[in-house]
Symmetry: C2
């Protein structure tokens, strides 16, 4: 079953559009981190695995998918990458889709190597990968081919949720379109060429902090599943993301990381994660009329 | 000593502007690969380390720097990343600058995590890192801060050497500038704010296949060291890259990977690598009048 069908099946099974982001932040944020994140990097990585295993255990019936953020694992060196592989394996063993947020992008055989690392059967392989389009459509091609061949997906950065996203994504071109529109139209074109009306393997990342853009981009890419970050900690609300969904309440997943996994109090993390995820699931479902 | 000074000192010491790219391609290119790249991933990774140690040994007095391409190591899983750490350590122990080509980019604390992984003192830390600007200037800020604080550098993708680079980088904006010009002007501005006339920590990647763009971008970013890929296998010649250098023959490094490390014949790789590197070094020096 292809990635889009698999993800939609999961969304319908659990009636959840929540993508729970796994962003282990063992250093530098003491107020939101439990004491257990101490020691050498191997100990810290082990503590990270235990911490998120508890959260996964507590939220597994409430989420559409999990999204590990590669950067935080890379920052822990080799033990961090072992931890990432372990958590990816855990999530897969539960039959839950996993999106690796690594924002890779390069040309030719280098892009092929990234696609091989993340969209085949290696220890880091996920159901889908986030990808950066700056290098152009030929840089996306190896990812699209791997996604098609292996029933995986990609989520291409189109318009992100940070203030600086206007610097280059938001430049207006001679065609009176924004740069991100050009990306979006190309992605729309590719999915049309790959699938007959249904959702294709080429999804898009569109920030929740720009609701009117979300509506426009939903129209431009009717066959792209949208990965919408920026909910919660970054300021997006349930009302902001209604436009991401199609009329059946499909076609989008809403991501939150800190808000679902780090809390001011260091105890009862699993219970707090479950409560926060349940609340977010219901807020989204209520906003789109599916509660 | 800051990264730009360190790199220029090295260039002058060996009179070389060659950046030797380390792109281990153990699979899928049989005609250019020696038999030793066989076995399980740990064996392959070990063979990769041995293969490139020989090449480093044979070329260490002929190159300005080495540039491992992270994608190929990531594709080998955990043993591949151990191999990358080993080669980075080897190169550092020779006192030669190492640029990690990983094209990372993300926002806020995620970009901080990448900067922590690659521009501090972890096992993957390099002298400089390639970075993707699509997410905007706030996404570059953590990399710039880490580079400043730790005497490292970054090379921001401005205009790449692939045909698809025109898709988004080459869009023309209402200001009658290309998207990549906007990136370049911003980088020029940052270096001016960080340093007094000399080269700053914010370099740029500009492809060798567009010589007239190279000349223009050299002017726009007079304080950016340019990392110029596309030489050799991708079609760029010594004449194409003259414009990348300042009048003292500094301010740029020219990168080649396959052309300096993989050969049609599987034997005497070290000897062939030395000969190819020597030839490239001299071609560049001759073209800029410093042979």
């Amino acid at each position: 079953m292809d990635f889009a069908k698999r993800l939609h099946k999961r969304i319908l099974e659990v009636n959840s559009r929540v993508c729970l982001g796994i962003d282990p932040r063992p250093y530098g944020h003491p107020s939101t981190h439990p004491d257990q994140f101490e020691g050498d990097s191997a100990q810290v990585a082990k503590a990270v695995v235990n911490y998120f295993r508890e959260i996964i255990e507590a939220t597994q019936d409430l989420v559409a998918c999990y999204k590990p953020q590669s950067a935080f694992f890379e920052a822990m060196g080799i033990p961090g990458l072992v931890a990432m592989a372990q958590l990816i394996a855990d999530i897969k063993s539960l039959g839950i889709p996993v999106i690796l947020d690594a924002k890779r992008g390069d040309i030719g055989s280098t892009a092929e190597a990234y696609a091989g690392a993340y969209l085949t059967n290696t220890v880091f392989a996920a159901d889908a990968l986030t990808v950066n389009p700056y290098l152009g459509m030929d840089s996306l091609e190896p990812f699209i081919q791997a996604a098609q061949a292996n029933e995986r997906g990609i989520f291409v950065l189109v318009k992100t949720s940070n203030p600086g996203s206007n610097d280059f994504q938001g430049l207006e071109t001679l065609e009176n379109m924004y740069v991100y529109d050009h990306v979006a139209y190309q992605l729309g074109h590719i999915n049309r060429s790959l699938t007959q009306g249904s959702y294709g393997p080429v999804g898009a990342v569109v920030g929740a902090t720009h609701p009117e853009e979300l509506e426009h981009l939903r129209e431009v890419m009717p066959q792209s599943i949208l990965l919408v970050p920026g909910y919660g900690a970054q300021g997006g609300t349930a009302e902001d993301i209604v436009a991401a969904f199609d009329e059946e309440g499909l076609g989008a997943i809403i991501s939150s990381s800190r808000g679902l996994s780090y809390f001011d109090e260091p105890d009862e993390t699993a219970t707090r994660a479950r409560a926060a995820t349940l609340q977010m699931r219901d807020e989204i479902n209520e906003a789109i009329g599916l509660l």
